[in-house]
Symmetry: C2
Subunit: 160 residues, 2 copies
Amino acid sequence: MKHLKTIALLALVVMLAACENKMQSTNTDTQETENLIFAKGEKINNDNFTGTVWLNNLVNADSVNQSAVGSVTFEPGARTKWHAHPAGQIILALDGVGYYQEERKEKVIVRKGEVVKCPIDVPHWHGASADSAFVQIAITGREKGETVWLNPVTDEEYHK
Amino acid sequence: MKHLKTIALLALVVMLAACENKMQSTNTDTQETENLIFAKGEKINNDNFTGTVWLNNLVNADSVNQSAVGSVTFEPGARTKWHAHPAGQIILALDGVGYYQEERKEKVIVRKGEVVKCPIDVPHWHGASADSAFVQIAITGREKGETVWLNPVTDEEYHK
């Protein structure tokens, strides 16, 4: 009886360890699943952005379709410059928490599952919040020309 | 000593039960996260689809933007009729496994993270695979008119 209890005790310790181990790997999978429907793509290396931003060009505009579609990942604090789209833009928030602001309006918080329509030619910026990354799909009409880039978003504007 | 072992044994059984319980709730969260970036929306009640299909109209085409954007959820076996888009369509696969087929081409399997461009005016269909639901974003240009609906996809065509 004494031995039986010792064996049972050991067996339970092993099962508990295995269970904790399995939980850890489950959590890791969750994180990867949340963030990676589309690959992050390439790090953007131009001065139209502040901070670290990744772009995966999913669709280029062409004769089949006038819209370009990209998955953009902003690391916390990263954002675009102020800019405007001659044919507007649609932003689909896929993950994390972001900011969006149009000229002469308040900054708004954008969360996973929310949609923003940037009007034609209206200066605006978007990016991650200070504490969380932000993953978005950008759908940009190219039929009226390229994005017009303006001033950087200052830290004061960003944190306001 | 005998009592101590009995207590340790009981404590371990309780911890193991708690651990299993926590794992179950973690798995549930994972599933919800995967499937629901955008709400499923409303069940489609017209005969342009076979099976159960849900639509969440994210963006209607308007003066700001010529593209309509919707999240479409096909339950296993569900699909569109054959149809064509006068300004083409872009499909972004968000979750599950789907099928896509253009007239006179082979059916292709579309998985989470993949992108399909439907050319202008080419008859095609898309939907879930037989065993898995399929969640997609559809970006549809409206500048040249509405979708042209054709014949239902027969079971023979679907399973081919």
